[in-house]
Subunit: 523 residues, 2 copies
């Protein structure tokens, strides 16, 4: 959209940026952490798959405007949000806000279509929006499935280990947020330990706490210790998950966090959390209509808080089993929803969040993999910019699984390679190879293969491609067994990124001060 602000504070052409990224990758490859080198965020060279034509998009957009106008969205906030909507020209009845057609879209013109999510290591900063795709770990599980096969409540040690793994995973572009809930830490204090872990054990960009406005303020305050006050106020260092309470409600907690982050120019990922059939209609088009209405209301509200604050069009789409009411994942209908939502987001000029490696399975078996792969393939081809839950998700999001994290991050590597598309350079065309080899021969030793074999194909560290006999000799191991071994190796080899000791001390002092100011709370 021509009238959208393009946040390009980092400056420089894409080509220049690309060169810098190459240098970063080369440095990373020499870091000796035992893991393969980290890759920069994805710049897609493949197109986006679409499931709606112009007519379909117009129907859904029209219907969403009708929902916003006739039904409205509830803002269950203190009076502040409702007052802001009144002043913006909305019709407010109680907590229900009715929006004149086009109001939300007009407000969103000040939202950036792209922005940079800054990391404390500038080489790990990621673009959000446009042709960029950023993979972010699972978010939210209270349980873990640990490396001994136990399903148990998560601890801060688990959390730190996931941060380390995300740091080492080459195609994980961010450290994430609440990778798991460290329930051994009081609920009103754990955000401090989580944010600290992201800063201390990784140098990739991370997410802030959203479970209370003061926890959002803590996240911003700690970011300021790392990045400096001015930098934080004028750039984006935190992307923050603001779920709609679907259908058609934003609750006080989420609005509180949204206001904090938007005021500080930090990004809000405004995401309807949809289990179709329960939180939205059982149809794809109906679900899309509701998602669009909710995003329009929530995202445009960020612009009332601060014009130009970065905001994402988020969509968490799943269905329910109509027999049991249980959530289901990796099924076709939520895929259609996400493809359609990505199209709606592109038309609004907002970065888009969906997908990941979602599943309902209790173990990292073929069910988990099918569901995750169905979701992840869709995520890539939809042109998703911000991929939450891209690794580690198990059991409907109740469990963060170490083995699955390893399997998923391997799949992310495949997606990153896929996103490069088809090389049509002279070397890519390989006519010399075809001429050299000729009918009935093989390409294994030809000059073109020798020159290109190292980068030719994605190499999985987990897939077993050997003979059955070799696989038997090696102990008939399933992929989760190999993932378990690799995970232990990575954690063993992990080396933390350097951090300025003065910053580290200041963070620890801030945390200690905040913790001292509060009694422990566990609910």
């Amino acid at each position: 959209m021509d009238d959208k602000t393009q946040v390009t504070e980092e400056g420089g052409s894409r080509r220049a940026r690309g060169e810098g990224r190459g240098a970063a990758a080369r440095r990373a490859s020499r870091s000796g952490t035992g893991a393969p080198p980290s890759l920069p965020y994805i710049q897609r060279r493949i197109g986006s798959y679409e499931v709606l034509d112009e007519e379909g998009l117009a129907i859904i957009e029209g219907n969403a405007d009708t929902v916003l106008e006739e039904i409205g969205i509830e803002f269950r906030d203190d009076a502040e949000a409702l007052q802001m909507w009144k002043e913006a020209g909305a019709d407010v009845k109680g907590q229900r806000v009715h929006f004149p057609r086009g109001l939300c879209r007009a407000l969103l013109k000040t939202a950036p279509s792209e922005f940079t999510w800054h990391a404390r290591n500038p080489e790990r900063s990621a673009r959000i929006g446009g042709d960029a795709t950023v993979f972010v770990p699972v978010y939210g599980p209270p349980f873990v499935r640990d490396l001994d096969g136990n399903r148990r409540y998560a601890t801060i040690e688990d959390f730190q280990n996931f941060v380390k793994l995300a740091y080492m995973a080459p195609s994980m572009h961010a450290s994430g947020g609440t990778i798991c809930e460290p329930v051994d830490v009081p609920v009103n204090k754990r955000h401090l330990d989580m944010v600290y872990a992201h800063i201390k054990y990784s140098d990739k960009p991370f997410m802030g706490s959203v479970t209370a406005p003061e926890r959002a303020e803590d996240s911003v305050a700690m970011a300021k210790i790392v990045f400096g006050d001015d930098f934080v106020e004028n750039n984006t260092v935190l992307c923050n998950l603001i779920n709609a309470n679907s259908p058609m409600v934003f609750d006080e907690t989420m609005l509180g966090a949204l206001k904090v982050y938007a005021r500080h120019n930090q990004a809000c990922v405004v995401s309807p959390f949809i289990l179709s059939g329960a939180m939205s209609p059982v149809t794809v088009a109906g679900t899309l209509t509701q998602i669009l209405a909710e995003v329009l209301a929530g995202a445009s509200f960020t612009q009332l808080v601060r014009k130009g604050a970065p905001v994402l069009f988020g969509t968490f789409a799943a269905s329910i089993s109509m027999q049991s009411g249980a959530p289901t994942f990796g099924t076709p209908e939520p895929a259609l929803v996400s493809y359609g939502a990505a199209q709606l987001a592109r038309r609004m000029g907002l970065p888009f969040r969906t997908g990941g490696s979602l599943c309902a399975s209790k173990v990292p078996d073929a069910q988990a993999a099918h569901e995750s792969a169905n979701t992840l393939n869709m995520t890539l081809l939809a042109g998703t910019n911000f991929v939450l839950h891209s690794a580690g998700w198990l059991e409907g999001g109740l469990v963060a699984c170490f083995e699955k994290f390893m399997i998923d991050q391997d799949q992310l590597g495949m997606m990153q390679k896929m996103a490069q598309g088809v090389d049509l350079t002279e070397s890519g065309q390989a006519m010399d190879a075809i001429r050299e080899v000729g009918p009935g021969q093989h390409y294994l030793g030809c000059a073109h293969t020798q020159a290109n074999f190292q980068s030719a194909f994605y190499r999985s560290a987990l897939a077993d491609n050997n003979s059955f006999e070799q696989w038997e000799i090696e102990g008939r191991r399933r992929i989760e067994d190999r993932a378990n071994t690799l995970c232990r190796q990575w954690l063993e080899a992990y080396q933390p990124p350097a951090i300025d000791p003065a910053i580290d001390e200041a963070l620890l002092a801030y945390i200690a001060g905040r913790k001292d100011s509060m009694a422990d709370a566990f609910t």
Copy 2:
């Protein structure tokens, strides 16, 4: 392509056909076989994903023409094929055929862009080409992984069981060909038992033998017993896998079978069998160039044999591990190859075959599922018409696995639902539901949900979506355990489709006569 023959021998508009298909599905649902009702072949209502733009396609097409002209393709046949190519205007040197630019494309103008693959039950006949997608079982494995977890040589009983399962699987649209190699039957006789099993235990369309010209003749002869001589000569009842011996060779066996089938108006699936890096260059564009050249040569040859004979643009794309040389599956590069090949096929106006549920894993674990799902999602979105290996493939195609067949066929059901796209009818838009429910409520009991819940979401018979506690009570079963149980249930409940006893007797008499005429051969 306007100048292409449209084989529409079955007549009738799509709408009329659709109604017939609905009736068939309803009848199938009353068949009481224990399996869900069979679905008709897919008519895609979603678009195709493309990875090449016009410029990229033109580069590859130009390069393929150069390969055909400069390097040529070897036809390792008796003199007949080479003589036919000479007469068609090609430059033949020894077994190497060089094609003037444009010759193959010109010949292919007589090949149909769509045709019907007739089943003995007309309601199971499938369209090949256009917006139709047909799922066909795995093809070729000498081994099975049986329901007791043993990996062993396949038998004719295994073969019959797979035919029964394919018959019962609702989204399996064909009975297939060599689902596994029944190595307990002499190699020169087993094709008779395989073709008979397809006819006797299923009424879905099937494939003929290609391992020798006389076995192809036997397949045609048996088809004629079922369909009648005239019908077979003027319609297509057999789709037959003709692999190129890549790079750039067609061998005597494949050419012999091709000639038999094309002469009888039966379809040839001309498929380069590519492990990139070994049988083709290590690049996507180079591989596509070679595939296109091989298909142009092999497919156009069918038109020299019989103008108008149906032929498919086939592609079997995998890569190799550059460390070990082992084939790899579900990786990004073969996906890009297949997407590109589908585009090239559409431009030629030929039906396209690729994909399936391919994997390298030795067991139906998460590796098998990721690789299979990556392949299958691509297969659907590429707009593939004929999907070989769509269920049961394990271990690089060496093994036909019963449990994986069940898991895969469930995924095929998801793909079939996905292909329906987004319903934009008034019911699909669901505005009444959104109005009825309103903010903060749920959709579980609303009128729209009640009216649509049965068809709303794809229902998997294998995915476990229950709570962890319920899953524990039920024995902590993985999906392959549930697949094992369901497979046993289906085989227990199987009921054969009716067959005219006179036809059955004639088939058995034919087989007995043919077997008596040959000594057993085992190699």
